[in-house]
């Protein structure tokens, strides 16, 4: 098919590498700015959305990375 979206051409290995790089960037940011981020996330009240937002973001990127990681190592579900 000629009209396939460019996304479909991305190999699983590339996708895993990209997800891993984004995850790493999130963690580096989190720990290099830990004082600021801890202050933001521990204010209480409506700032509860910040830790929840961080958790959702990490789960999306890191979840995709870990899935691709084990897949690349051959640890796959039985079909």
């Amino acid at each position: 098919m000629t009209n396939e979206s460019p996304q479909r051409n991305i190999s699983p290995a590339t996708k895993t590498a990209v997800m891993g790089a984004i995850t790493l960037a999130i963690y580096v940011t989190l720990f290099s700015l830990e004082g600021h981020i801890l202050n933001l996330t521990s204010q209480g009240k409506w700032s509860f959305v910040i830790p929840i937002g961080i958790a959702f973001t990490v789960s999306y990127f890191h979840g995709a990375f870990t899935s691709g990681f084990w897949d690349a190592l051959g640890v796959k579900a039985k079909k």
Partner: protein, 359 residues
């Protein structure tokens, strides 16, 4: 920048320790739907994290982990989303009520009273439910029926036969209607246990299996949906008070997402009764862990002779070690079953290919 005294300075060793405990916990949770989190609160406290921050941070890692696990297992067709959401809603109410009871006990009897309540709840629930699950797993193993499809037991068949007009909901996992008046107390009890011992699944999964008749593979996967719902609610509650240490939660999450993938993949290679084996083994082992600290709290409350500091420390260390052991044993069973299952699958595949090539 100055941060609250609630938050500790993290060392590389502390981070590595939490990552590994998170990984093993995730592995177990991915397989049995829960059970990996009980060790995380004491693990964080052992490196100096205050109790409430440990509970809050545990909760904050739990819901994204459960979400990833639930999505993974839904791909294998193991999740009953409707049942998970229905039970999750009542579990949320159970969490709030359980937390209220905890606060009331702490106010009246102090920390020792609260710890004693948690430990007694651990021992009683795990002895009854864990003992039953373990007995059932042994019975299936001895009968040699491990390969047979699971059928609803007598209690589940009776529950499914109850018809209360206006309350009946159809659930895919059991291919039958059950009254929400039955699922509500089950979810509530799951939430109460989660608020008390951090693992609602020790009631949630067995209650879905034995009371509703949900196959064990689906019950353990659906528990991840319940854990997600409870985790979000719990995190909002603790984050509202500013108790979540996002660094701790994210380090544990980093490890547990590696683990939960393997645990979930493992379920596709094993016989359903293995869920009961892992759950039973962990529950019974943890039961002994908590039994060791009960005398410490009884002594602190003045209900038995006072203990020396050395004895108190020894009992607490034994308890923590047994808890870690429970998690390691559970993870080892999961890994062994996964490796064995993958090997057998490859051999089967190879023999089929050989047969095709010979033709």
């Amino acid at each position: 920048m100055e941060v609250s005294a609630n938050f500790i300075d993290l060392t590389a060793a502390g981070m590595a320790y939490l990552f590994i405990v998170g990984f093993v916990g995730g592995l177990v949770s991915g397989f049995i739907g829960s059970g990996g989190a009980f060790v995380l609160t004491p693990a964080m406290m052992s490196i100096g994290v205050p109790g409430i921050v440990a509970v809050a941070s545990n909760m904050c890692h739990k819901f994204p982990k459960a979400l990833v696990g639930a999505i993974k297992r839904a791909k294998y067709g193991q999740v009953d989303l409707k049942l998970g959401l229905v039970m999750g809603a009542s579990a949320e109410a159970g969490v709030l009520y359980g937390a209220h009871i905890q606060e009331a006990i702490k106010k009246t009897f102090g920390d020792a009273g609260s710890n004693l309540y948690v430990s007694v709840a651990f021992v009683v629930v795990l002895a009854i439910v864990g003992g039953y699950v373990m007995r059932d797993a042994i019975k299936i193993y001895r009968s040699g029926n491990m390969h047979e499809e699971e059928t609803a037991g007598p209690l589940a068949r009776w529950i499914q036969s109850i018809h209360i007009p206006g309350t009946m909901v159809y659930f895919d996992s059991i291919k039958a209607k059950v009254s929400v008046l039955i699922t509500i107390p089950l979810g509530f009890a799951t939430g109460m246990l989660a608020a008390t011992i951090a693992v609602g699944g020790f009631v949630g999964v067995p209650s879905m299996m034995y009371v509703l008749g949900v196959p064990s593979m689906m019950a353990s996967a659906t528990e991840l949906v319940i854990a997600f719902v409870m985790g979000v609610g719990g995190t909002i509650k603790f984050a509202w008070g500013g108790f979540v240490d996002i660094r701790l939660a994210m380090i544990i999450l980093a490890g547990s997402l590696f683990g939960i993938q393997i645990g979930a993949i493992g379920t596709t290679y094993v016989k359903p009764f293995m869920i009961k084996v892992v759950m039973g083994v962990i529950m019974v082992t943890v039961l002994f862990s908590r039994a060791f600290v009960i005398p410490v709290y009884l002594s602190q409350l003045g209900l038995i002779e006072p203990m020396t500091e050395a004895t108190t420390k020894l009992l607490k260390n034994i308890s923590f070690s047994i808890m870690i052991l429970a998690l390691i044993v559970g993870a080892a069973i999961v890994l062994k079953a996964l490796i064995q299952g993958m090997r057998e699958h490859k051999q089967q595949h190879a023999s089929i290919e050989e047969a095709v090539a010979a033709d």
